[in-house]
């Protein structure tokens, strides 16, 4: 009955949704590199417009996109304040020990924009890709590492299973919390030590259940002849499509524009 969203995947049918996870992962890294390379406000403006366009085009509501920014709000606030008051330059406003300079304003604004773009770029990836597909993409991208005996498939399988069981665990902890509070358990009063101790009746059944489930899952997997990655084929084979071409093309334009701006656009601040 409880509805839980894992990650922040938004169901959709956009070009971004339909393109291959490998494309999206690589392009996300490219995007992050581009964001670090930008140094003019025009460059930031173009990049921001690009992100906004992608968000709207993928059918992600602006509200949920902004909600994704919440965790970095404090980080943003601290960086901006620090930059604002510490960077030397021509003084604009000064009172008591504080001194705000023109450079301070410019640098803090740019830092804020950069942080914002970095986080939004990374979160778009999770907005348009389900966790399972994402894991698949990572596994394929990492598969060269198998040569040097890195158990890539096993790691990916572990990740998939972990993701799969997050909702189950949440549901179960919700149930156990309810059951124990019905027996008079109290989680909200007392000092820190008492409160931590109050969670023992939750954690132990949860752990016990997880071990039981892991054991059952392992048996079920073995019963279906699972024996690791070797010789294993996929039901859904990852394949590039027209959508990938479109996405890559759009990104190439962005990269080209930003590089040109970086090289020739010094005069534009």
């Amino acid at each position: 009955m409880m509805k839980i969203n894992i990650g922040q995947y938004v169901v959709g049918d956009s070009v971004m949704h339909k393109s291959d996870p490998r494309t999206k992962i690589i392009l996300t890294f490219v995007f992050l590199a581009v964001v670090l390379l930008i140094d003019s406000f025009i460059g930031f403006g173009i990049c921001l417009a690009f992100v906004a366009f992608t968000v709207i085009n993928s059918g992600i509501s602006i509200r949920s996109a902004l909600r994704g920014m919440k965790p970095i709000f404090f980080l943003l606030l601290i960086t901006v304040t620090l930059n604002l008051f510490t960077i030397p330059g021509k003084s604009l406003i000064s009172f008591w020990v504080f001194n705000i300079t023109d450079q301070g304003v410019i640098v803090s604004l740019k830092t804020a924009l950069r942080l914002l773009l970095l986080v939004s770029g990374a979160s778009i990836l999770t907005f348009v890709t389900t966790p399972t597909v994402l894991t698949d993409g990572i596994e394929t991208l990492m598969s060269p590492l198998k040569r040097i005996k890195v158990p890539v498939h096993e790691f990916a399988m572990m990740m998939t299973i972990a993701l799969r069981f997050i909702p189950t665990l949440l549901e179960e902890s919700d149930k156990i919390i309810k059951a124990q509070s019905a027996r008079g358990a109290d989680f909200d009063t007392g000092n820190l030590f008492k409160r931590v101790k109050a969670y023992v009746p939750i954690i132990i059944p949860l752990l016990f259940g997880s071990f039981m489930r892991a054991n059952e899952l392992a048996t079920a997997m073995e019963a279906r002849c699972y024996k690791g990655g070797e010789g294993r084929t996929r039901m859904k084979v990852l394949a590039f499509s027209k959508n990938d071409v479109i996405v890559v093309f759009a990104f190439l334009i962005l990269v080209a524009v930003e590089i040109v701006l970086r090289v020739y656009g010094k005069a534009l601040i």
Binding site: I176, K178, Q180, A182, R183, G184, V200, P205, G209
Partner: protein
């Protein structure tokens, strides 16, 4: 009146885009000492309804009263003491080192002296038929059926007036199921506990419940004594709830033989009726007549 729902509506995630109306203007009252069963398919709102009884959920609209206490109140200590809650698969809540400690968890939380705790634990296990030798075991190493009893003991030990059970027989084998219902009936009849039991199985509740409410998509569409509810077969079939096998069998028999309508709930009752019917009018025979 021990439990009273007044036009209760419950909405999950109220105000968000994926809000879900689980209960729609439910009004019901459960009398003290009654055995009340709530029947419905999964997703019908059964679990939501029982969680409203002890304040784990608060009604979005309307009011719930338990022994006169409003469940939307801030302090729920008194309410929690009044209502014992046995969730589905209660054995998943076991956690302590020994069976004894696990059963004692709730009463210790109530701040009882250890002597009284011990007294209560022993009284409870006697009532539930848990052998004393089990008390020193870890709750994780006993059998499934025992685990369920121990988990139930952990609730009953708190001496609630009202016991709420969510599918108490789920996952038990037929004999375990029978024992479980016998136990619940005993708690109801001997200890005078008001029972609110949730089930999806008509057959299970037919014989034990005093009153039944049928819940479909958050609304009570039928309620009354089992015989009343089961007599409305047409309606029940429409919502895909089956009447007990013996009831529908006897209905068929009565239809064929042109008997007056009667709703049979137990095999014993049906057997008696058949035997009576087959008895030859002249009562000199002892064999009960020839079987057709």
């Amino acid at each position: 009146m021990s439990v009273k729902f007044e036009k209760v509506t419950y909405i999950y995630d109220n105000g968000t885009s994926n809000s879900f109306r689980a209960l729609k203007e439910i009004s019901l009252s459960i009398k003290t000492g009654e055995f009340f069963a709530i029947i419905g398919h999964s997703g019908s709102g059964k679990s939501t309804l029982i969680q409203l009884i002890n304040g784990l959920l608060k009604p979005t609209m309307g009011k719930v009263f338990v022994n006169g206490l409003d469940t939307s109140a801030k302090d729920l200590k008194a309410l929690r003491k009044t209502v014992g809650m046995v969730f589905q698969y209660p054995e998943h809540q076991l956690f302590d080192e020994t069976v004894y400690d696990d059963i004692a968890f709730g009463v210790r939380k109530m701040g009882l002296h250890e002597v009284d705790v011990k007294e209560r634990v022993y009284a409870t296990i006697k009532l539930l038929g848990i052998p004393e030798s089990l008390l020193t075991h870890s709750p994780f190493e006993i059998s499934g059926g025992q685990k369920r009893r121990v988990a139930m003991a952990g609730v009953i030990v708190m001496n609630p007036d009202i016991l709420v059970l969510d599918e108490p027989a789920a996952g038990l084998d037929p004999s375990g199921k029978k024992e479980m219902f016998k136990l619940i009936q005993k708690l109801n009849k001997q200890m005078g506990l008001t029972i609110v039991m949730v089930s999806h199985n008509m057959e299970d509740v037919a014989l034990v419940a005093d009153r039944i409410a049928v819940l479909v998509e958050g609304e009570i569409i039928l309620s009354g004594a089992p015989a009343e509810v089961y007599s409305d077969q047409e309606r029940l079939r429409k919502i895909h709830l089956d009447v007990p096998e013996i009831t529908s069998f006897m209905n068929l028999v009565m239809e064929r033989t042109g008997q007056p309508n009667h709703t049979f709930l137990s095999v014993a009752e049906a057997k008696q009726a058949i035997v009576d019917r087959l008895k030859p009018p002249a009562s000199e025979s002892e064999s009960g007549g020839e079987m057709p």
